[in-house]
């Protein structure tokens, strides 16, 4: 620490200019967040394009757009891109990268160069996989199940797996950076229980990133080793165990589900108190439940394998543990709901998205209990019920929370306000389109329509048509923000420093923040979320 006497630099982080080097070589966490945002949005629309083709194919029972082989490749691209190149880094690498130091009162992350490196590693890995997809495609599904992926698939499995493996490094780098930053760079007075919930959830997410990703790395490494060198640890012909792959894969991929949803929970925990003008109800429970979810998330992977031939005792235990993990999630929903009770609620765009999250997350979460029930799951495994369930959590939950957070902090990130009218229209469109797309899939799954087929019997036609129609609306819901947010960058009124009248250190600095975040070192003197009801809504004092 060098004590400098000169006046603090108050110019915004945009001030350095627009030449590529200032962006591509910057170690400023705010600029790196933008690098991630641009890359992730590109991947979101690539994955979305694959989803669009899937929904067009499924609009009618017959195979009229793509062949079965192409269809396999389409849902694989959709899965790989959406899970690893969008959902996993989505909130942490963009909003988290931008906000974590601001919320802690720090000048940057603990390792700024590692942060920039993580973006380059991410790009190297994701472009490798994208190349594999363009050069001929992968047909194993995003799960790379053995022995299909090791022995039978003639597509570019090795290259795609290598790309995902490389992206794993970037995830671990981000995780390490966030953990160390949260431990070491908190402003004076910023104790653990004064941290915003968003920081808690990022911390929990980072723990999962650091602990789960290496296991995925090991399993992908073994798949590539099998295809290239013939090291057949998963090959039954050599005495290997193909189920071992599923165990390793889901030991990563179930916690990865919580990598995807926890930051979304954090975003909503910031927005609901702000637009209800009430402190977050049960702050400590919300914080602890984030850690509880991260911990329990490691103990439930077997519920993906109820029909795989694992022992029925294991099935019962995993079923029980899967019910248990609903408890911390329910605690959060309970606290969010009570936060709004007797609040002075206004419906700005971030709040609309956050309320959408709440509804869709509850719905998807309750559907998860059906799947956690051992006997019911035997019927529902590999049907559209599963698809509907995890899209309610991943898209209805995480993507909605991402949009909520993007709108909430957009004024802070850009210094510009977006069109409130268009924002509300987009939030409503997304909610309607989402439900129309995915609710019919619950029915289809209940009726027994299996996933991953490009044709289906005629009796499923109506529900599939509804779903495809909903996808069109949903696509509009996601394209609209691209337009009006993009527009707001150039032609829009300037944002005040604290447009939502929110608490939190990030709102105390200017919009957009100066290069070193704060003109003076901020200090924290009290708990977060000290919202007060406006005068008019306050109940009369008891006599």
């Amino acid at each position: 620490m060098t004590a400098t006497a000169e006046a603090p630099d108050r110019r915004s982080y945009f001030a350095e200019g627009w030449n590529p080097a200032a962006w591509l070589l910057s170690t400023d966490h705010k600029r790196i967040a933008w690098l991630y945002l641009v890359a992730l949005l590109a991947f979101f629309f690539i994955g979305g394009a694959a989803a669009t083709l899937i929904r067009i194919e499924l609009a009618t029972p017959a195979a009229d757009l793509v062949s079965d082989d192409t269809y396999n490749k389409l849902f694989t691209v959709h899965g790989i891109v959406m899970v690893w190149f969008f959902l996993i880094p989505s909130i942490p690498a963009t909003l988290g990268n931008f906000l974590l130091p601001l919320m802690l009162g720090a000048k940057d992350l603990a390792f700024p160069r590692l942060n920039l490196a993580s973006w380059y590693v991410f790009m190297a890995g994701s472009l490798t996989t994208l190349y594999a997809v363009i050069a001929g495609g992968v047909d194993t599904g995003w799960t790379f199940y053995t022995p299909l992926s090791t022995m039978f698939s003639n597509s570019h499995v090795s290259l795609a797996a290598a790309g995902v493996f490389i992206v794993g490094f970037s995830t671990i780098m981000t995780g390490i950076n966030f953990i160390v930053t949260t431990h070491k760079l908190r402003a004076p007075g910023q104790t653990w229980f004064r941290l915003p919930i968003f920081v808690w959830t990022l911390y929990a997410t980072s723990l999962v990133m650091v602990l789960a990703t290496p296991v995925l790395a090991a399993s992908l490494l073994l798949i590539v080793a099998d295809r290239v060198f013939g090291i057949g640890i998963f090959d039954p012909a050599q005495g290997g165990d193909p189920l071992l792959f599923q165990h390793l894969f889901w030991f990563y991929s179930h916690p990865a589900v919580y990598i995807m949803i926890l930051p979304g929970m954090g975003v909503v925990s910031e927005i609901l108190p702000c637009f209800s003008r009430r402190p977050l109800f049960g702050y400590r429970f919300v914080a602890y439940s984030a850690m509880g979810i991260a911990l329990l998330g490691f103990l439930v992977w077997g519920h993906h394998m109820f029909v795989s031939g694992q022992s029925s005792f294991a099935g019962v235990v995993f079923s029980f543990l899967s019910f248990c993990i609903a408890v911390p999630s329910a605690i959060k929903v309970f606290n969010w709901t009570l936060t709004m009770r007797k609040g002075s609620i206004t419906f700005e765009t971030p709040m609309l998205y956050a309320l959408g999250f709440l509804g869709l997350f509850v719905f998807g979460g309750l559907a998860g209990l059906f799947l956690a029930a051992l006997a019911v799951d035997v019927h529902l495994t590999d049907t559209y019920f599963v698809i509907a369930h995890f899209h309610y959590i991943m898209v209805g939950g995480m993507v909605t929370a991402f949009m909520a957070g993007l709108h909430f902090w957009w004024p802070k990130m850009t210094g510009r306000m977006y069109s409130e009218t268009w924002g509300r229209i987009a939030a409503a469109t997304t909610f309607v389109g989402f439900n129309l797309t995915f609710f019919p899939q619950f029915v289809l799954g209940y009726l027994g329509m299996p996933r991953r087929y490009h044709t289906y019997p005629d009796e499923f036609a109506v529900w599939n048509m509804l779903s495809s129609a909903g996808a069109v609306i949903l696509a509009f819901g996601y394209l609209m923000p691209l337009c009006y947010l993009g527009w707001s960058l150039f032609r829009s009124r300037r944002a005040p420093d604290n447009p939502w009248d929110a608490t939190g250190l990030e709102w105390q600095t200017s919009s957009p923040p100066p290069q070193h975040n704060f003109a003076t070192q901020p200090e924290v003197t009290g708990p977060p979320y000290q919202y007060e009801l406006p005068e008019i809504d306050r109940p009369a004092a008891p006599r």
Binding site: M1, T2, T27, D28, G105, A106, K107, D108, A110, F111, P112, L114, I172, G175, I176, N177, I179, V180, H183, K184, L185, R186, A187, P188, V210, L211, A212, T213, P214, V215, A217, A218, S219, L221, L222, A225, F229, G230, I231, G232, I233, A237, Q238, G239, G240, D241, L244, L248, F251, Q515, H516, Q521
Partner: protein, 204 residues
């Protein structure tokens, strides 16, 4: 903007060390997953899996363990001398690198011998197994290659890391500190080997 310019309550030194420890936990899980693969194969009923370990060269494995332990000793010395700003630090770091290279050479010779015996599980060698239950022997060598190969990759990156620090000692802002962080990684590689050696060579 570098981490040195952070606020009062923060020191870069504990951050760096803390970061490396978190990274090593992550690395530990990578090896845990691979070792789990070993345990599943070993505990599978009826498999003559352990026969594979009897094909390994115990003398060479023991020698390699000694080499790697000595290298850890060297880097521990380098860390101490580095903190005392002694010239010997760089030399000890170079000795670590040399021992790491010796380790890789011995490992390479072992692979060579095993390949000569037709033990390594490459596809074109699959019909040259000498024992009655070839597939379980082969499974052992699958696991053996996955574990020692991943470990060897770590040794190579460790050599690059420590060698780089020794070579560019004068150009680094705080060479002794950087060396200390690299030493944590090197010790970790050593600890992993301490687990691999009994699992692969001793449990016959």
């Amino acid at each position: 903007m570098s981490a040195e310019a952070q606020g009062h309550a923060t020191g870069v030194e504990p951050s760096g060390e803390f970061g490396v420890f978190v990274f090593l936990v992550s690395e530990g899980l990578l090896f845990s997953a691979l070792i789990l693969g070993y345990l599943v194969a070993r505990l599978a009923p009826g498999a003559d899996f352990a026969a594979g370990s009897r094909e390994l060269s115990l003398p060479l494995g023991t020698l390699n363990t000694a080499v790697l332990l000595s290298s850890s000793f060297c880097i521990a010395l380098a860390t101490i001398w580095g903190s005392e700003r002694s010239r010997w630090a760089r030399l000890a770091a170079l000795a670590t690198v040399a021992l790491g290279i010796v380790f890789l050479c011995i490992k390479g010779y072992e692979y060579f011998e095993e390949a000569q015996k037709g033990l390594l599980p490459f596809r074109d060698m699959s019909d040259r197994y000498p024992k009655a239950e070839p597939q379980h022997l082969r499974l052992f060598f699958d696991v053996y290659l996955a574990l020692t190969g991943t470990h060897a990759l770590h040794v190579i990156s460790g050599i690059g890391l420590v060698g780089g620090i020794a070579l560019f000692w004068r150009r680094l802002a705080r060479p002794a500190h950087t060396l200390k962080l690299a030493a944590l990684y090197w010790h970790f590689i050593d600890v992993i080997w301490v687990f691999l050696f009994p699992l692969l060579y001793l449990a016959r």
